[in-house]
């Protein structure tokens, strides 16, 4: 079972993000479960959503307490929420920012026992460019497809298409595809 926790602020599409991940996994014939956190859900308040992906039916109903991957839609949460709680050693962290790991002061996460694999996508910038609004969701999902190896880009694109009307979907898909390409270049750079 692969477990993902998405952190963001109310209104950024945290819940939709988890739902689209689950749809993408479903389209690949896998079992998936997405659900919102049961915390406060006011606009701007810290919120979470969860997604589990497995090859068999998922019975577990607890929140994702030991994620394999984190998606952080808003880096201002870094100093407010215990984001990394329960993240498995070697776990994946995908941050939305146009700053570097060093600038964010997160270099220490990649070392020591934690060995987190931290990646950064300027998802809000990509959303502004393609969608015209600061909605980082689709770009992060595109980046996640490249970095996690859990999902194919085509599945994420199909999930975005299922979620939105065509004109909005097209713009979000463009953001997702650019994020995917950026992330793939980063992955290839590491392996080169």
């Amino acid at each position: 079972m692969f477990q993902i926790r998405i952190h963001g602020r109310g209104g950024q599409g945290v819940v939709s993000g988890a739902e689209m991940l689950s749809v993408a996994a479903f389209l690949e014939g896998r079992h998936a479960q997405a659900f919102p956190s049961f915390g406060s859900e006011r606009t701007g308040a810290p919120v979470m959503a969860f997604c589990r992906i497995d090859d068999k039916a998922i019975r577990l109903r607890e929140p994702v307490l030991q994620p394999d991957a984190l998606i952080v839609q808003d880096c201002t949460l870094l100093h407010q929420v215990d984001l990394f709680n329960g993240l498995q050693p070697g776990g994946q962290v995908l941050l939305n920012s146009n700053r570097s790991i060093e600038e964010l002061g997160l270099a220490e996460l990649t070392g020591g026992e934690r060995r987190y694999r931290v990646s950064i996508i300027p998802a809000t910038d990509l959303a502004q460019k393609h969608v015209g609004r600061p909605v980082p969701n689709a770009a992060l999902l595109g980046g996640f497809a490249a970095l996690s190896g859990q999902l194919r880009l085509e599945s994420v694109v199909a999930a975005i298409r299922e979620k939105f009307p065509k004109s909005i979907a097209d713009k979000n898909i463009a953001a997702a595809e650019e994020a995917y390409a950026l992330a793939m270049r980063a992955v290839e750079a590491v392996h080169a």
């Binding site: 389209l27 998936a32 659900f35 979470m48 577990l60 109903r61």
Partner: protein, 417 residues
């Protein structure tokens, strides 16, 4: 057809496939997405021959459902929490009149303090209102139970409440198999009412009944529920034949055959319990679980059979009777009358508190050592309780309790789980 969709949407599809003729509802979280979905289907014409009535309250929702059902059509509504309480008088009337209304309860806590999250306090408050109550473990089962509910309700002349955990199921995206209209039509015939308000053949419904007959009318309501003990499994068997999957029925056991310890629970938490059972079985523990689907009627006989060879029973409840203890436990205890085993009540998941594998594992291991109190509140933060009791002891004008506790523990949004 397999779909990845939200639980509420899956239920809306099940209702639409059941061809309701009147849907009346008032929005309340976490049930709202169900009736919103149905409203859209009526509006865009995909749900035909159905009138969608926006009402001014939950009391009106149930009253309109009663009127529609009495007029001879298939009626549906949905609610949660305070909404169910607000319609309480009409809830009793629906069953007292023998009207086969189907209602979803998206289970949510009852205030005060106000809380929108999941537990079973709402539907449990109506456990003796004369409705059949079925609890869904998964979104697939929620979908399936609604189709079965119309069959059961209309065959008996008794309303059915399908209870599904708010947020945990209503807002969860997971895989469901949505049946075809042909499959549902073959299983669920058009509604043929036993009683109907018809100007051509006038009848009275809801007459004053005095002591000369009230007991008999009430006894017959009980008799009807006892007949449901046969009908519910029969309908589940027919459903399995027609749809190719097992859903509903009275109870479901999981690895109970040689179990010393059996955990009893209702609804979606059974999934997490089964995960823990498997993990503990892997370490050699003789533990199993029992999911009660039909809470009303309470299946005393099959519960007794399932539990009689265990050494101890842990009833895990998302509700409790204040000043007494467990509610589900009472039924389980009745089922075990005369059988000597250790019984424990565990109150868990109140107001949406996560029920985790870690907490359940510790709990069940304590149960195996018979180191549990009669009534345990899972993950109760005793420090908070002590602090508040002390504060109230020191100050006569201590102010409101809930708000004082929130101030004491500080922000909650930063926690996980």
């Amino acid at each position: 057809m397999l779909k990845q969709t939200e639980g509420s949407h899956a239920v809306a599809e099940a209702i639409a496939l059941s061809r309701p003729q009147v849907i009346c509802a008032y929005p309340i979280t976490p049930q709202t997405h169900i009736v919103e979905g149905l409203g859209e289907m009526v509006k865009d014409g995909s749900l035909e021959d159905c009138e969608y009535i926006n009402v001014e309250s939950e009391f009106a929702a149930m009253s309109v459902a009663i009127g529609a059902s009495a007029a001879g059509v298939r009626a549906y509504t949905a609610t949660s929490s305070q909404g169910l309480l607000f319609m309480a008088e009409a809830v009793y009337n629906a069953s007292g009149l023998g009207l086969p209304i189907v209602m979803t309860v998206g289970n949510r806590a009852i205030g005060a303090p106000i809380n929108i999250w999941n537990d079973h306090s709402d539907s449990m408050s109506m456990r003796d209102a004369g409705w059949i109550q079925l609890y869904a473990e998964t979104n697939q089962e929620a979908l399936d139970l609604h189709i079965q509910a119309f069959r059961i309700a209309e065959e008996l002349g008794c309303p059915v409440m399908v209870c599904m955990d708010g947020f945990i199921l209503t807002h969860a995206y997971e895989r469901v198999d949505v049946p075809t209209q042909e499959q549902v039509d073959a299983f669920l015939p058009p509604y043929t009412p036993r009683q109907i308000l018809d100007p051509a053949e006038p009848v009275s419904m809801g007459a004053l009944v005095g002591p000369e007959a009230f007991t008999e009318v009430r006894y017959l309501a009980h008799h009807k529920q006892l007949r449901a003990l046969d009908l519910i499994p029969q309908v589940a068997r027919e459903f399995e034949k027609g749809f190719g999957r097992a859903s509903g029925g009275l109870i479901r056991t999981y690895r109970t055959d040689d179990a010393d310890t059996i955990v009893v629970a209702l609804g979606s938490v059974n999934g997490t319990v089964q995960e823990v059972v498997d993990e503990m079985r892997g370490r050699g523990h003789r533990i199993g679980s029992l999911s009660i689907c039909s809470f009303r009627p309470f299946p005393l006989g099959v519960v007794r059979e399932a539990l009689r060879n265990a050494r101890r029973v842990v009833v895990l409840e998302k509700c409790f009777a204040v000043g007494l203890g467990g509610i589900v436990s009472d039924g389980v205890r009745k089922a075990l009358s005369g059988i000597h085993l250790n019984g424990y009540t565990v109150v868990a998941g109140l107001g949406g508190r996560a029920i985790t594998r870690a907490s359940l594992t510790k709990l069940f291991e304590n149960a195996e050592r018979d180191k549990l109190e009669q009534v345990t509140f899972l993950d109760l933060n005793e420090g908070i309780v002590r602090h508040e009791l002390e504060r109230e002891r020191q100050n006569r004008r201590s102010g409101p309790t809930a708000e004082a506790i929130l101030r004491h523990i500080g922000t909650v949004a930063s926690g996980i789980g």
